[in-house]
């Protein structure tokens, strides 16, 4: 295909614009990756564009580019000058080295030389793509839009300032899009165009683009309407982390310095065969140091239990008839017992002593007193505790005043705890009538106030900074330790006794067999949570950590699960119960005093939902309406396929066809006969099927006797026509 000079010039202009847009791509990349030699890259881009502009033979063009890349590398990276004796060995060595790295899968280890080559090849491909867009598709809009997006993104999230670049790109891109549009238009009308005619379109286009851009440029602009996302994003990418030490997830006994990122570790710790999910409890801690947890001073006794003897803890147990077994297989030896809620006794093979520390409730496994050992397997018997909601609702804060002094250690707070933590605690619990509700309020506080679960983002408090204060007010990002510690501190601030519990989350459940599931608990499941004391009920566990939903069933399904079999169950026994009950009463009230106002209020409450639904409906409606010439006929085709081929269906299908034709602009005039119309339709659709159908239809409506007709063939014609109208 021979190009005219005019076409060549047009293409040349387009390529110059593309060159400048590509330059805008290159600048931030160079800036952000600290790459030098931008002019060399620009030369490469220019060269590639020129080669495709002049339609150089692909082989030759490839050779030239390849040569340039080689020269580029040698010039930039080789110490010796180009074409000296060292060039070839240098290239070979680079090639060999990088190939080895790639083949071994060490993609991160490739050299700068290789990266540069890859980048240049990428540019090569990009130029080819652009060439395709410009000269074949004649549509550069995607590229243009991507460029704007690219620069906008970089401007927002990096140090790169794209203010000028974006204006340049928009102006250039609009001009380019306009020019190519004119080109496309020209191809469609297929007129022998004079240059002047083209300019008549192009010049107003140019003027309007420049006018629009300059108006937009000089118009006053408001600031961003939402908060700068950069801190958030930086938070995610880890630039802002104050912590510098990596910690490994897992169970450790020293909790005096909390904070800092965690690294995942999926080493299997133990497996448990159990009917229910459990939180695996190991020990509790009572003293918060504003950096972490330690054990308080004081005299506490130790209890010694043997295998199969009832164990007493401060925790509740369920009714004895619900006793069940858990078989634990320990993979990593631990000198202490893994307990569960509602634990009744432990059974181990040989003579083993379980030494319970009354302070932490940790149970060391010992061969004899003072000689620790570890077991590879043992079983726990337990009965899940059932908490009475009635009791919980009777836990009035006033009763907290009368607690005896043994609870003091669960109310301990560091002296330097900032006042704002206490204020926050009062604020959260202010309007709650019972202790239980207060605890629930604190527990759910984290879920709604912009907190984020992240193992790698937890900060380490500075010298004179409180761990909880930092988390609650500054970072709001952390993992279980942050949430559980904060909850304990908040509870203690309002006088609710609380302690910090360590152990493991329920782990990953396997398939159910024989009524048991196998739970695999790895180091990643190491967890901490909260136990709070509720007057009248006792200690209860709470899970403040967010993001722990999903694979882990954290909360109160323990009482829920037992409830089904609990024959003597009181209706308000389960902690989950109050909400449904409240809803029921609420509903009853609304029903009894039903009025428009109530209805209106209810609707108003979900105003945004309604708005969204209505908008969606409208959008769906509009798009369905706009697309009707596509989907309606398809539905008809489907419908008529099922119908019997007879005169009455033929009649209605013919009218469907007439309607569909009118949708695509082939409308029969009042005075136009069907056959005249059919002729017109066939001319427009380049078929003769409409006339075939119409002859039969006319016979049907004007004739006296019905003749035998091949309906199958008519149906085919009909479907063909319908499909023609869609395509």
């Amino acid at each position: 295909m021979k190009q005219s000079l005019g076409e060549f010039l047009e293409l040349a202009i387009a390529y110059v614009i593309v060159f400048f847009i590509l330059r805008e791509w290159l600048i931030p990349i160079m800036q952000l990756t600290n790459t030098g030699g931008m002019h060399l890259f620009l030369v490469f881009i220019g060269m590639s564009l020129a080669l495709s502009l002049f339609r150089v033979h692909p082989l030759l063009s490839g050779l030239v580019k390849f040569g340039y890349i080689t020269w580029f590398i040698v010039f930039t990276y080789s110490p010796s000058p180009v074409l000296s004796g060292d060039t070839i060995p240098f290239l070979l060595a680079e090639w060999k080295g990088n190939m080895t790295t790639i083949l071994t899968g060490d993609f991160g280890q490739v050299s700068d030389v290789f990266r540069t080559v890859l980048f240049l090849v990428l540019i090569w491909m990009l130029v080819y793509l652009i060439h395709h867009w410009v000269s074949v598709r004649k549509n550069i809009f995607y590229f243009f839009a991507m460029t704007v997006f690219f620069i906008a993104t970089l401007d927002t999230f990096s140090d790169y300032d794209g203010k000028a670049a974006i204006v340049k790109v928009v102006v250039l891109g609009l001009i380019m899009t306009g020019v190519l549009f004119v080109k496309r238009l020209w191809l469609q009308v297929e007129t022998t165009s004079t240059v002047m005619e083209k300019w008549k379109i192009v010049i107003p286009m140019l003027v309007s683009v420049l006018l629009v851009s300059s108006v937009a440029f000089f118009l006053p602009k408001t600031g961003p309407t939402w908060a700068d996302p950069v801190p958030f994003i930086q938070g995610v990418t880890g630039k802002d982390g104050k912590g510098n030490g990596q910690k490994s997830v897992g169970y450790s006994q020293d909790d005096s310095q909390l904070g800092g990122p965690f690294q995942g570790d999926n080493t299997l710790i133990f497996t448990a065969s159990s009917r229910d999910r459990h939180y695996w409890r190991i020990e509790t801690k009572d003293t918060y140091t504003s950096k972490g947890w330690i054990v308080s001073e004081g005299n506490f006794g130790k209890n010694v239990y043997e295998s199969n003897t009832p164990i007493l803890t401060s925790l509740q147990v369920g009714p004895p008839e619900n006793e069940r077994q858990i078989q634990l297989d320990i993979a990593v030896p631990m000198p202490f017992l893994i307990q569960t809620y509602g634990m009744l006794s432990v059974s181990a093979q040989d003579s083993t002593l379980f030494i319970q520390d009354e302070q932490t409730e940790r149970m060391n496994i010992e061969q004899q007193v003072g000689e620790s050992k570890s077991l590879s397997n043992y079983s726990l018997s337990y009965s899940e505790p059932v908490y009475s909601m009635e009791q919980l609702q009777l836990s009035y804060p006033a009763t907290l005043e009368t607690m005896d002094s043994s609870f003091d250690r669960f109310l301990q707070l560091p002296n330097q705890l900032p006042q704002r933590v206490k204020d926050l605690a009062s604020e959260i619990t202010q309007k709650k009538d019972t202790v239980y509700e207060q605890i629930k309020a604190v527990e759910s506080y984290f879920r709604t106030n912009g907190f984020k679960y992240d193992k790698t983002q937890a900060a380490i408090p500075a010298e004179n900074q409180d761990y909880v204060d930092q988390f609650l007010f500054d970072t709001k990002v952390g993992y279980c330790d942050n949430f559980s510690t904060s909850m304990v501190v908040l509870l203690r601030s309002v006088g609710i006794p609380a302690r910090w519990v360590k152990g493991f989350a329920p782990g990953t459940a396997g398939p159910m067999s024989d009524g048991l599931r196998e739970y695999r608990i790895t180091n990643d499941n190491a967890h901490s949570w909260v136990e709070a004391f509720i007057p009248g009920t006792g200690w209860m566990e709470f899970e403040p950590t967010i993001g722990f939903t999903g694979n882990v069933n954290i909360d109160y399904d323990i009482p829920l699960d037992t409830s089904d079999e609990e024959e003597v169950l009181q209706p308000e026994q389960k902690p989950e119960q109050p909400q449904p009950q409240e809803q029921v009463t609420e509903k009853e009230q609304t029903e009894s005093t039903f009025s428009f106002d109530a209805m209106w209020l209810w609707m108003k409450k979900f105003a945004y939902v309604w708005v969204i639904i209505v908008v969606l409906l409208i959008i769906t409606g509009i798009s369905l309406f706009l697309q009707r010439k596509t989907w309606i006929p398809k539905m008809h085709v489907r419908a008529y396929r099922k119908k019997v081929a007879d005169w009455s269906n033929f009649d209605s299908s013919y009218h469907v066809l007439l309607k569909q034709l009118s949708r695509i602009g082939l409308r029969r005039n009042d005075g136009e006969t069907l056959s005249a119309f059919a002729e017109r339709v066939d001319a427009a659709l380049e078929t003769d099927e409409m006339q075939k159908l119409t002859v039969v239809y006319e016979q049907h409506i004007y004739g006296k006797d019905k003749e035998d007709v091949d309906f199958v063939k008519l149906k085919e014609s009909w479907e063909y026509l319908i499909n023609r109208t869609i395509s």
Partner: protein, 314 residues
């Protein structure tokens, strides 16, 4: 297309070049037992057409050249005293033929004209108090010179109503005319054509045409068209119900000619100008606005909804 009529048309085309439509319309009129008014200048082949038609059916062909001094008796016939038998003997006039060409009908006196037209309408003539039936088939093709001459007697509207169709012959195209010349070199083609249908067969066809089905919806359509001519602002006098009947009969014949057993709105639309245009009496306004009867009819057709449903909506 009906095969027998196809033969007739082919036969006619042996002598008439490029006048297929006129031939078809003539046959339509013949099949519908109507008569045709041909309006055109002399020498375009009107006589040839009628003769070819007549010969194709093996029908008797008669021609009357109308002149201002032609008397009715010259048309219908006259009783002449025969001295031998001492009785008046009836000599039938040219109207007693099967196919009659009445040339330049507007050049004769209204008296003579009405003699012809009465014969056309009633298919009988009254002479000396005796009514004589004219044998079927009876087909009159009258021609009329459109150029206004001195001493012509334009046919009154009531008379025009008796013609089923008014057709314009038109000049042949250049190519056609060359072909006419070429054939003229080879002597008279008209002498060579032979009958393809007998008169009896023609009558049979005429019977069949009457059986062509016209749906009520199509009848309504015809009536609607006729009604609109009466309501049109440019029209002083719209078409009569006779015209509507004519339209239906012509449509039946046309549908038959096209090989169909039912009339479609296409047939109607095609024939309306030929059936209606000579029956309309326009107001002077039309002339000022330069609107012809044909244009008015086309407008009416364009705005009258064509029935496209199985059952008429009324």
């Amino acid at each position: 297309m009906n095969a027998q009529i196809q033969n007739v048309l082919e036969n006619i085309e042996k002598v008439m070049i490029g006048k297929r439509e006129v031939a078809e319309l003539s046959i339509v009129a013949l099949l519908a037992r109507g008569h045709v008014l041909l309006e055109d200048v002399p020498g375009v082949g009107k006589t040839m057409m009628v003769r070819a038609l007549a010969k194709s059916f093996d029908a008797q062909f008669k021609r009357i050249q109308f002149t201002p001094d032609l008397l009715p008796s010259d048309v219908v016939g006259i009783s002449i005293y025969n001295p031998k038998t001492m009785e008046f003997e009836f000599r039938p006039g040219p109207i007693m033929g099967d196919v009659v060409l009445a040339d330049e009908i507007n050049r004769t006196s209204p008296k003579t004209q009405s003699a012809l037209l009465e014969g056309m309408e009633e298919a009988s003539v009254t002479i000396d108090g005796n009514t004589l039936m004219i044998n079927q088939p009876f087909f009159v093709m009258a021609t009329q010179n459109p150029i206004e001459h001195e001493g012509t007697y334009p046919l009154p509207e009531a008379q025009l109503d008796r013609f089923l169709l008014k057709i314009k012959m038109g000049y042949p195209s250049r190519g056609q005319e060359v072909e006419i010349l070429r054939r003229a070199e080879n002597g008279k083609a008209i002498e060579k054509i032979e009958a393809v249908l007998s008169v009896a067969q023609l009558i049979e066809l005429q019977e069949l045409v009457q059986g062509v089905h016209v749906k009520d919806s199509v009848k309504n359509y015809m009536v609607e068209l006729a009604t609109l001519t009466r309501e049109n602002n440019y029209v002083y006098l719209g078409v009569s119900p006779r015209a509507t009947i004519a339209l239906m009969k012509a449509s039946q014949a046309y549908a038959f000619l096209k090989g169909r057993s039912y009339v479609t709105p296409d047939d109607v639309q095609y024939l309306v100008p030929f059936v209606f245009s000579h029956r309309l009496v326009l107001k002077p306004d039309a002339r000022y606005d330069n609107v012809t009867a044909d244009e008015i009819i086309q407008r009416i057709i364009a705005k009258t909804p064509v029935p496209t449903k199985r059952f008429a909506e009324q």
